[in-house]
Symmetry: C3
Subunit: 266 residues, 3 copies
Amino acid sequence: MSDEKKSEKKHEDSKESAFKAVLSDVYLFRDSLTAINELVNEAIFKIKADGIYLTATDPTMVALVDYKFLSSAFESYVVHEAEDIGLNIENLLAVLKRAKSEEKVTLDFAKGANKLLVTINGASTRKFTIPVLDIEKGEVPEMSLEFTATVEVKTNVLIDGIEDASIVTDTVILGANANEFTMRAEGDLSKVEIILEKGSPDLIGIEAKTSVASKFSLEYLKKIVKGAKIADTAKIQLGNDYPLKVTFRAVDNLQISYVLAPRVED
Amino acid sequence: MSDEKKSEKKHEDSKESAFKAVLSDVYLFRDSLTAINELVNEAIFKIKADGIYLTATDPTMVALVDYKFLSSAFESYVVHEAEDIGLNIENLLAVLKRAKSEEKVTLDFAKGANKLLVTINGASTRKFTIPVLDIEKGEVPEMSLEFTATVEVKTNVLIDGIEDASIVTDTVILGANANEFTMRAEGDLSKVEIILEKGSPDLIGIEAKTSVASKFSLEYLKKIVKGAKIADTAKIQLGNDYPLKVTFRAVDNLQISYVLAPRVED
Amino acid sequence: MSDEKKSEKKHEDSKESAFKAVLSDVYLFRDSLTAINELVNEAIFKIKADGIYLTATDPTMVALVDYKFLSSAFESYVVHEAEDIGLNIENLLAVLKRAKSEEKVTLDFAKGANKLLVTINGASTRKFTIPVLDIEKGEVPEMSLEFTATVEVKTNVLIDGIEDASIVTDTVILGANANEFTMRAEGDLSKVEIILEKGSPDLIGIEAKTSVASKFSLEYLKKIVKGAKIADTAKIQLGNDYPLKVTFRAVDNLQISYVLAPRVED
């Protein structure tokens, strides 16, 4: 190492830590970010005392992701100063994918630094630095949504229903009433209808003030349903020609919610 | 559901059933149709009292498929009226592929209807409608073939031999005499020869009045050999510069036969 | 078979054997040639009394492969006359890939013949002939290299390090001193550093007269590291801005060495 590099390194090390956290298992963090990455490329990670938060819309503003990865999911988690770190999620994932199951992953961020340090500790020590991006804030719309129906289903109902509907067309009508949750799609010639009735083991719960139905893009739903990787059940909130909210929750320390705008009939 | 849709549904349900059949295991039906689909895109399914029949040529008329899926393969099978149902096989397969191993699949066809109803019953009920096509009949040539040699082999002999030959060229000469079944291919520089002699555990039986050999397109043989998925052995019937007949049979309720025209030397 | 062909066959069989060898397990031969094939398309196989030797450079002359597959790796190995056989490695691999695990593979070469005969014996007998190529000799540069450092690592260190570095750029600096082996890569914004210290279970041995470092193309290293398939450890020999030598050795009968020219800084 040249002298110039050595002094540079010393300088880096002497910076005060703003945030340092260790994951003993990288999978949950990686899988949840992989899901988000379907919709969002770059985002601000808000490092707070109780966890990492992220809220972002997809580039077309049709879908919104709300992400919480709580401190309890880490082996250790120390925040000296709350920070907003703008990152390219694909860059971060490329590094996280390099960790094997038995390896610890440390996230390290110095106060006001322009890069995130990720260290993978196994038989060797592997240090990756990821550049911090200057991402404009405040583009995320505030939403106060009131839903008419709430359904909780096994995630495979959503995954299968979306695949079923994709056979015939590119949109699906999600519907709910007090007794059943339905997914309907109709192509030029073919048609598909999925009915999940109260009493089915795959329908955990259903509540609907009135019968509701809204149409959504299958392209977006396919991306949203990637969040199912972290959970066995999904909470679906619906209205009439109204946005959809889908929430996946892993134990108590990770939650991904999506809000998707409806496709309103011409 | 709108009132209009409700009345439409009632109307549909009131139609008299021509054919209704339930598969407790979709795999055999699906795998056999997947094999056929290699050669045939659209075909008339003849629904008869004892099973479903299909005979069709590939678009170039080089190969003919003859398919029987007998009623005993179904959990229940009721025909009120024999029907010819024209279907796009890929459409049907797209639906059949949506069924999981523990799910029942019901085929339902109303008298004179313009669609086939396929219902998948698991934790949810999933109904698919597939349009019936107007396919011209009578294009299938009648053939009365007399073969000089009949060979029965383990299917892997055919599969491997076709792959072996593909290394060097795009045709293969299938040959048989009283003692051996052979597959030979010769490229510009390379050559391959597969010899299966009487006594080999992979040669179940061989009968040949004289020594015969015919050349066939490997492209077509690769499609035909997909039928091996339903059976462990294949019956091969040959002549001299004569068509080939290959028959795959699963237990007693499913049979796929192929006839392939030879490549006659210039 | 025509009379003409029969007499041709007799003629072939009557040729005196120069070389005949039987592999009871094709995997090691196949895997090692697959590794070499990453860099070399056509090469002269030198058939000697104690084994098969091959030395060749890649088409750009940046990397050199040195290969020894000793006679003890064969079930039987008989050389009547040392021969140089020019082969297209992909052609040979296409045939070797057709052998299954329980099948014996025989290599057969007649004196002065223009083809190699490969026979696969299982339930059937499958004979492949591969054309011998006229490859110019003497293009392989003689090299007498003196290395400053020698490192032995578990192969996964190399494989992972190369993948890690590929995230950020297309070259990597391999370094060694008396205490550690390092791999460093730096992109426009991102950076990665892998440190393997003395005492790590993945570092089998390290010897370095001085601290050394050289930069190499990741594209070539990715091809070289395919040789890891035959071995659990790799011997790495390094200098300062000097070529790299990597050696993979399987038991006592197979060795692949690579020499790779460094990327010298502008």
